[in-house]
């Protein structure tokens, strides 16, 4: 028989007190685990949406006046010409320090073309990259796959009575409409989309682009850093971060996170108080028993160990069960807080953290009762007989 044997027997044969302590701590740990898991899952999801959101960095020529514009690109009021970015300089983007955070580079050229006597905005894009980036674009028909094919915006289709499969003339070249962009509610509805090279030659802008959209994955880097790096390698252009919407969302989640930490701290404090009061009560109740231990030759250290090991064992149990309960609550609550499927994933930091935190709280809160127990004078303790 060893000291731990006494601890386990005590827990086993005085189940009530142990169960009360276990339950209290368990609920505390579960609360903390579910709050932290929820905020982490929600922020993961926001991060994910941020990537889905498409471009978050915009490169445009430097300009000082705004009029006929798309995405902040000035086409100039009268001439419909704007300053351009040489296509060759874009290679420099791949040299920045955070180049591995770049998911997609989408250069495009913009210009007005004549269609049945109307000015229409033509945008030349790399179809694969552009449609990959703008996940909210849906096309009736298909995406263009050759130099003679076009996709047109829904407003263009409506106003000019253009239907799928029709051919049309642009600046003297004939094209086939292979897809119509479903209504987006944005300026995109008024575009004609062609392949980049085709558009460049149509607009007489060979070798230049009007703007570049970049999608950066920024889990661990601030977008501002990448903006600065891009500005360094691309002199004479404007680099801007597009992130207001996401930022608002992230701000809300940061607030929730902060609240979670606050609530977690309060809950753990209450847990600590619970352990403290329970162990203090247990020590008073067990005064006589401790007196017997001391009389038959247990050192102070042995008594200290008895109380601390008991608290640690119960706390570890509460940590484990509380973690499982917390994960359960998280899985149950996530669908209520957001409509997409669960974003929970196993986080070893939270799992190990829950266990370690529970044991630490249990040990810290039991320190004072344990010291009190070990300092009981054996004769005083036995007087409680």
């Amino acid at each position: 028989m060893r000291l731990e044997h006494i601890v386990f027997n005590n827990i086993k044969r005085r189940k009530g007190r142990a169960a009360f302590l276990l339950l209290g701590l368990m609920i505390g740990v579960a609360t903390v685990v579910s709050l932290l898991s929820l905020s982490s899952a929600l922020s993961m999801r926001a991060q994910h949406e941020l990537e889905q959101f498409g471009a978050n960095i915009m490169i445009t020529p430097e300009t000082d006046h705004l009029s006929l514009s798309y995405g902040g690109v000035s086409l100039g009021g009268v001439s419909l010409t704007a300053s351009e970015i040489p296509e060759g300089s874009l290679a420099a983007i791949d040299t920045i320090r955070n180049r591995r955070n770049i998911a997609a580079i989408a250069p495009k050229v913009l210009g007005a073309v004549d269609l049945n006597g109307q000015h229409v905005l033509l945008m030349g894009v790399d179809p694969k990259v552009e449609f990959g980036l703008k996940k909210w674009w849906s096309v009736s028909g298909r995406v263009m796959s050759g130099p003679d094919e076009l996709v047109i915006g829904s407003a263009v289709s409506r106003q000019l009575n253009l239907a799928m499969g029709e051919t049309l003339d642009l600046n003297g070249r004939s094209f086939t409409i292979v897809g119509i962009l479903n209504e987006t509610g944005s300026q995109d509805d008024q575009l004609i989309l062609a392949e980049l090279a085709t558009a460049q030659s149509l607009l007489g802008k060979e070798g230049v682009v009007t703007m570049v959209e970049i999608a950066a994955l920024c889990h661990d880097c601030p977008v501002e850093d990448m903006v600065r790096q891009l500005q360094e390698v691309l002199p004479g252009v404007d680099v801007q971060a597009v992130q207001q919407v996401v930022k608002t969302r992230m701000h809300a989640i940061a607030q929730f996170k902060l609240l979670s930490y606050g609530v977690a701290a309060v809950v753990m404090l209450v847990g600590a108080l619970l352990v403290f009061v329970t162990m203090m009560g247990a020590v008073s109740e067990r005064t006589r028993e401790i007196g017997i231990y001391r009389a038959i030759g247990f050192r102070r250290f042995h008594v200290l160990r008895l109380v601390l090991v008991e608290s640690a064992v119960i706390s570890a149990g509460a940590g484990l069960l509380g973690y499982l309960l917390g994960v359960g609550v998280t899985l149950g609550a996530l669908p209520l807080l957001s409509d997409s499927p669960t974003g929970w994933h196993f986080d070893p930091v939270i799992a190990v953290g829950a266990l370690v935190a529970a044991v630490c709280v249990g040990l810290l809160a039991a320190l004072q009762p344990a010291f009190r127990a070990s300092r009981l004078e054996p004769s005083e303790a036995l007087r409680a007989l």
Binding site: M1, R13, A295, G297, F298, R300, H302, R383
Partner: protein
């Protein structure tokens, strides 16, 4: 050979402004193998006497030497070790740890020794057999009678083979028949050479002792105490 030597042992308790002298300059020596009875009315200092003799409390002044060891020169933890190695305590009944079986209660003093588990179990079993409780090993205290509980307590005091047994009213809560059985058990140990100091207020028990001292107001009352020699002068 002298096992216990008390020199001018004094214990004061202060209660607010009052100073209570619980034990007043006590001189006493106990021979190895002696069965000493300590009697006296409540408040006479019996409990203080036993607490001091058992290293459970510290004297205000004076010296206690047991088996050549100056007990109160030992530090806290060493004093605990001393109690474990040199003393066996038998308290009044209901002094067993309620959530441990008889076997586990007897093993308690061995818990904090470096002995092997199997050795601890065997030692506890052997001593429980000696007190006639071999068939009660796995019983919890509440499942045992008063007399059986007292036997478990005696077994626990014996398990370390201590040179000195200290007993505090071991028959205090037992009926007279069970009392006699417990006293016979202690007398048997005494017959085998065990030194025992027993505190009691029951005059009946006096016949078992080699020598009896009576305490009164913290001092030995010579009128009611036996003289030092011969040992067998039983009243």
């Amino acid at each position: 050979m002298v096992l216990i030597e008390m020199k001018q042992l004094t214990k004061h308790f202060t209660n607010g402004a009052d100073c209570v002298i619980a034990l007043d300059s006590l001189d006493l020596s106990v021979e190895e193998g002696e069965f000493l009875g300590v009697m006296g009315p409540s408040g006479s200092g019996k409990s203080t006497f036993l607490a001091l003799l058992g290293g459970l409390s510290r004297p205000t002044t004076g010296q206690l030497v047991i088996d050549g060891i100056d007990v109160y020169q030992l530090g806290q933890e060493k004093l605990a070790d001393f109690r474990r190695e040199y003393l066996g305590f038998i308290f009044q009944s209901h002094n067993l740890v309620p959530f441990l079986t008889a076997h586990e209660n007897v093993m308690l003093p061995l818990t904090v020794t470096g002995r092997k588990s199997s050795e601890k179990r065997e030692m506890a079993e052997a001593v429980l057999e000696k007190v006639g409780l071999k068939d009660r090993l796995l019983h919890l205290p509440q499942q045992l009678s008063g007399g059986e509980q007292e036997r478990v307590a005696i077994a626990r005091a014996l398990v370390n083979n201590p040179p000195l047994i200290l007993a505090d009213e071991p028959t205090g809560s037992l009926d007279s028949r069970t009392s006699d059985q417990i006293m016979e058990l202690l007398n048997g140990l005494h017959g085998a050479g065990q030194t025992i100091v027993m505190v009691t207020h029951n005059r009946e028990n006096r016949r078992w002792f080699d020598r009896t001292i009576a305490l009164k107001d913290g001092r030995i009352d010579p009128d009611h105490s036996d003289r030092r020699q011969p040992l067998a002068e039983v009243v």
